[in-house]
Amino acid sequence: MVQAPPAPWIGASLPRVDGISKVTGRARYLDDLPAAGAWHGATVRSDIAHGVLEALDFDPAFDWSSVVVVTAADIAAQGGHNVIRLIQDDQPALVPVGGKVMHAHEPLALVAAPSRALARAAAAAVRPRIQPLPAVLSAKDALAGSVALHGTDNVFKSFLIRKGHREDAELERALASAALVIEGEYTTSPQEQMYIEPQAMMSSWHDGRCHIVGSMQCPYYVHKAMKTLLACKDDEVVISQSVTGGGFGGKEEYPSMIAAHAALLARKAGRAVKLVYDRDEDIAATTKRHPAWIRHRLGVDASGEPVAIDVDVVMDGGAYLTLSQVVLSRGVLHAAGPYRCPVVRVRGRVVATNHPPHGAFRGFGAPQTTFAYERQMDKLARARGEDPLALRKRLALRSGDTTATGQALTFSVGTDAVLAAIERAAGPPPQRAGRSLAGSPLRRGRGVCFYFHGAGFTGSGEARLAGRAAVAVVLPSGAEAASAAPVRFEVRSSSTDIGQGSITMFSQIAAASLGCDPQLVRVIDPTTDKVPDSGPTVASRTCMVVGRVVEQACRTLRGRLEAWRAARGPAAESLSLPEVAAAMARELASDGKELVELVQYEPPPGIVWDDDSYTGSAYPVYGWAACLVDVAVDLDTYEVSVLRCVQAVDVGKAINPVIVRGQIEGGTLQALGWALIENVIYKDGKVANANMTNCIVPTFADAPELETVLVEEPYPYGPGGAKGVGEIPMDGPAAAVANAVEDALGCAFDSLPISPEKIATALRQASARSDGKAGVP
């Protein structure tokens, strides 16, 4: 028997499997797919935030015979339900005439035409008549409750975490006993995902089924939503992911809406219909990060030991619930931070407003609350005159400590390693004063932060989800068979590669578990009639959870192959694993069976979570990270430049270090952008900067050199020890930037983004205060 070589594939920076197709331009994204005869769709949207849709008027000057129009009436006429199914069935696919318009840019009707230009012209020739209603345009207005959008209090969902106390009075007593209470109020802005491939979907109805292909993260989310909307059975709708040009959460839930529209148009037009958003439409209409308003009290005793933490989180959910309650959940579960504290209260509310629904974006609620608690920690260090990194080392959670939900941490806690890595990388702080190349005076400063991120679904989410994946042995066929090509190990999962490299990582995990060359592994495209439901591609779970399932399936398959070989005695001893796989697969094929191993995810032992009390193991494991940022503030322009940004992240095990670095650096820059320049501006509920000229993201020239340190504290239940990495880099850097700007200027910045306008105002106020003081004798 030929022994498989030891598996070098875990931890190897193999080039991305899809790399060559991407650098040559051969990778086909949705808009690149051949679509002979397909029509183009366009969406008629509301231009006001709240009202009643009284009528849709059709311009009589337009030739309506050349296009297809779909309204809400078409959905019911076919027996479907006018709803985008997700958590609650509250969001319609199209607002019906007589129904309520709940936000600007809300879809009201659809058109399809042979050309994009004609489709746009047709959409512009539909004139919605909307009777306006008073609109709720901030979370504070929603809580004031003068206009009821949801229930009587506009609260979609609230959560309460209590640790170390039963009643509010006990918490207040603990805070009253503190020697020092740091009290802060923080706001964060909506952020656009700005994947470079705009949302795109195509549908056609043939073979008695509805086929939808498009740019998406979660084929089975779309599948579930389409069954309800189109009144189809499981096998009557097939969802396929096309090569996807970035997602970052922005292609988690909204693709179901676009898929719905494409499918409705295609059914009525009797032909394929492509729906590709323009950038302005994409920015205006699709989901963005929840703006948040967070109040935080942190009490410490005379020695600086925390005695109580109290956090109140309010998020603006927008007009429909969509994923907001889950985003809020993650936000509150991270709100007390990775610090020990005996008494913790976290209250969270997500409220209804007339903004377009806010939704999934990398970090999923945690970046907002991380910004608040890491500003608080910095203020504590400042108030006590303690070194900010030393303070974090002193208070950070370690193995044996418990989190705010009472979860005892027992493994894979990278606290000391990430903090030590930052300490090693730090070097001397930047010189305080200086001049820019243009001669402006500069003030420089340094900020640090320490943070964590729960990987995988919250609480018992993964157990409920029971994600599945399979590996099958596929025999060479056709010309391949004649050339004695080896078998292929086919990995089947609904995880989507949206740039994060899951295809490559799954190939490496499978090859390592099977003991074969990664060239023999093929990770197939997610199509719902060919792959099992592995759960969505979200929550830093793809490598850690689905990768684990792939690992288990491959190990089981390998065990079966080895048993088969052993049972056949000496004659089979010299066969390699692929040869055994071929022989066994042929044997099964002659009985009409496939050699396949389908495995369902088993959560690690000891994960106990109580949804009612919000206590227990909120996540199976956490990633840990620390960040150091040096900034320079230009005192003429008030611009902030990031001079240095070091992130040390505990990833458990980097399956492919280069891919992991890419994930961390990409997330880091999104966080730096959120800290300083990114913002979505609403005016009367409409997005006022719906284009890339005004809704800016960092360019090559804006980005600092990013220094990344990978720390590996293995997670015993992840593939090769890996845990989630996708989101964590987004959580911390914004606070590190704010801490650095405060270090540079001596005034606090608690509202994102830290724009030149805010700096100018703060410096003016500070100078007015010091003038005032100077005037006091």
């Binding site: 920076s13 080039p15 991305r16 899809d18 790399g19 060559i20 197709s21 991407k22 650098v23 040559t24 331009g25 051969r26 990778a27 086909r28 994204y29 808009d31 690149d32 995902q193 700005m194 994947y195 470079i196 491939e197 705009p198 090569v243 996807t244 040009g245 970035g246 997602g247 970052f248 323009d278 950038r279 949206i498 740039g499 994060q500 490299g501 280069v658 891919i659 670095r661 890419g662 961390i664 650096e665 990409g666 997330g667 880091t668 820059l669 999104q670 284009n691 890339m692 000229t693 993201v697 360019t699 090559f700 020239a701 980005a703 050199e705 990013l706 990344t708």
Partner: protein, 198 residues
């Protein structure tokens, strides 16, 4: 209007309205879908192509402006020898260094970086025009943006040169590394004079 192009080295002619965007002519009329649309307003650079050797945002160029001119797209970066595809140094390094993630911005970046290499980038620490800084021996080499620069200066220079291409996945770090690696290959003579295999 009949528009004749030298497209990736070969003659091509299309009958299109003169105001049609070059991007649409390439994608829809000539079926070259490697060039991507990210914003349609010249901000993201995903649609970058070379027009007579200079990078342009093809979403902002009208077909009528292109008649008789040479257009290079991402499909024209690699060459073929005896049926085998040989990637441009930039393409190879983008794969090797992990500079492509979701890949939608990659064609634009590859085209722009290939243009920089073909115009001449030099490489950091490369002594080719050390003399230039002394005010002596200023020649064609002296203009090379990276030559004679420190590693940090070279990285900053690459960032400036590619600032018209937005990537949302990578944080740019690994793209900068890929471009510098390609520049070194060219400077070392490992990838031909321009990175384009001949």
């Amino acid at each position: 209007m009949k528009v004749t192009l030298t497209l990736n080295g070969q003659e091509a002619a299309v009958e299109v309205p003169p105001w049609r965007r070059l991007l649409d002519v390439l994608r829809d009329d000539l079926s070259l879908t490697g060039t991507k649309e990210g914003c349609g307003e010249g901000e993201c650079g995903a649609c970058t192509v070379l027009l007579d050797g200079e990078p342009v945002n093809s979403c902002l160029v009208a077909a009528g402006q292109c008649d008789g001119r040479a257009v290079t797209t991402v499909e024209g970066l690699a060459t073929h020898r005896r049926g085998e595809e040989i990637l441009h140094a930039v393409q190879r390094q983008l794969v090797a260094c992990g500079g492509a993630q979701c890949g939608i911005c990659t064609p634009g970046i590859a085209v722009c970086a290939a243009h920089l290499l073909e115009r001449g980038l030099g490489a950091p620490g490369d002594g080719a025009n050390d003399g230039a800084s002394d005010g002596a021996g200023v020649g064609a080499q002296a203009a090379l943006p990276l030559a004679g620069k420190s590693e940090a200066e070279a990285r900053a220079a690459v960032r400036e040169l590619l600032a018209g291409n937005i990537c949302r996945c990578t944080g740019y770090q690994l793209v900068v590394e890929a471009v510098l690696a390609a520049a070194r290959e060219v400077a070392d003579g490992d990838a031909g004079a321009t990175g384009r295999p001949s």
